[in-house]
């Protein structure tokens, strides 16, 4: 073929680019993350339940927080009544993070594994880490 050398070289460079994520990360797969639910606060205050069930929160806490964000700020509705009728103040720092005071061992474990960088932390403050 005409310019066969250049074409084949170009194809090889393209293949290298396209498969980059795979061969670059060989051998660096992390273990499945195990977030530590038992923070100091949860242990001390013997909290048994989160705002919603563990399965729901694991799958949908992002959507819950997104709804909370709009409910509290845009609609001025700052009290959340969960599916069991319990009432919670809609407040990331003072409700969620009050119990889950161990961001590094809880939130970050799964987020880092999934390469998720929620920009919430640009503004919202995580509690000071204590040894749990």
């Amino acid at each position: 073929m005409y310019n066969g050398g250049k074409i084949i070289l170009g194809l090889l460079v393209f293949l290298a680019f396209v498969t980059f994520p795979f061969w670059y990360n060989i051998g660096t797969a992390d273990k499945i993350p195990k977030p530590v639910i038992e923070s100091t606060y949860i242990k001390e205050h013997n909290i048994k339940k989160c705002v919603e069930s563990k399965d729901y929160m694991r799958a949908s806490h992002m959507e819950l927080l997104d709804n909370w964000r709009n409910d509290a700020i845009r609609r001025g509705e700052r009290v959340y009544v969960n599916s069991e009728g319990r009432r919670y103040l809609i407040d990331l720092q003072n409700t969620c993070l009050k119990c889950h005071s161990n961001k590094k061992e809880f939130c970050d474990r799964c987020h880092n594994y999934m390469a998720v960088k929620p920009y919430c932390w640009d503004c919202h403050l995580a509690p000071k880490e204590t040894k749990s």
């Binding site: 819950l64 700052r78 009432r87 003072n94 009050k98 919202h124």
Partner: protein, 287 residues
């Protein structure tokens, strides 16, 4: 089957539009269906929530504030209010005027009401024919939470809006794109922008309130988070009666009672923005 280039491009374009449109439509429908577990909802009432007791929220049809400067005598009286707001809301202190962020601050009479006594000259020298003590007296300035706010009219994303429930001009820093149109529109210079990352410049971090990130506008929001817990705004609490906060539409509120007995002025009323912050005239010592 032979197909020429033009037909192919038309077909490809139509497929792309339909598929993107279809996916978007399905996403929107899914988003509108509630993702909350059944029975869950958000409300505005705050009784009996799990993390400690709190009083029922303060509500009003139209929040307003009366500033009684006779109660502010020493610089500390002003600083207490400013420090309370700065601490509670994690306001940064950059140490220079260019990037400064302030929600409540002091300034002179001449700068608070510049249209009242502009460019007055006596023998070529600028002069103000007002009592000496008033020339030096600091005034407290903050967002006026206007009833006809030009800033909310111009926001392209509804990141700032006037709450219908209580008239507070609110900020949603999740949505703000930092275009600063609201800053250009505010006649009172009440809004600040985060020209750089505020976090390193917050002296005492309040862990119960977020900071802001670079690139968003912020201003006084009449402490909506405290009102929701039944508390007065921080500056009002620390003002020792100098700042009176109440419902301008309730004829029996303290603010209405004061305004019906004392003469007051507002900043730049001729612009028609209908500010909700009133400054009482008179009663100031040595004036």
């Amino acid at each position: 089957m032979s197909i020429n280039r033009r037909q192919f491009i038309k077909l490809a374009g139509l497929s792309a539009v339909l598929s993107v449109g279809g996916i978007t439509a399905m996403d929107r429908m899914k988003a509108n269906a509630s993702v909350l577990p059944s029975g869950a909802r958000a409300t505005a009432s705050a009784t009996g929530q799990i993390f400690g007791e709190s009083k029922p929220p303060l509500t009003a049809k139209r929040w307003g504030m009366v500033v009684d400067l006779s109660k502010f005598e020493t610089p500390e009286d002003y600083q207490k209010c400013i420090d309370a707001c700065d601490y509670i809301h994690n306001i940064p202190d950059f140490g220079e005027k260019k990037d400064e962020v302030k929600w409540i601050w002091t300034d002179t009479y001449e700068h608070t009401f510049p249209d009242n006594n502009p460019d007055n000259k006596l023998n070529g020298e600028p002069v103000q024919f007002i009592p000496e003590a008033l020339k030096e007296k600091p005034f407290l300035l903050l967002c006026n939470h206007c009833d006809n706010p030009p800033c909310t009219r111009v926001c392209p994303t509804k990141a700032t809006w006037k709450r219908e429930s209580d008239g507070i001009v609110m900020m949603d820093q999740h949505r703000c794109i930092g275009c600063r149109f609201c800053m250009a529109a505010c006649p009172f210079g009440a809004r600040s922008f985060n020209w750089r990352d505020p976090r390193p410049f917050i002296k005492n971090v309040n862990p119960e309130y977020p900071t802001r990130a670079i690139g968003v506008v912020e201003k006084c929001i009449f402490c909506v988070e405290r009102l929701a817990q039944g508390l007065q705004p921080a500056c009002v609490e620390k003002s020792n009666g100098g700042l009176i906060f109440g419902d301008l539409e309730d004829p029996n509120s303290e603010v209405r009672k004061i305004l019906s007995t004392r003469f007051s002025i507002r900043r730049k009323p001729e612009l028609g923005t209908q500010p909700s912050v009133y400054y009482l005239i008179g009663g100031i010592k040595n004036v």
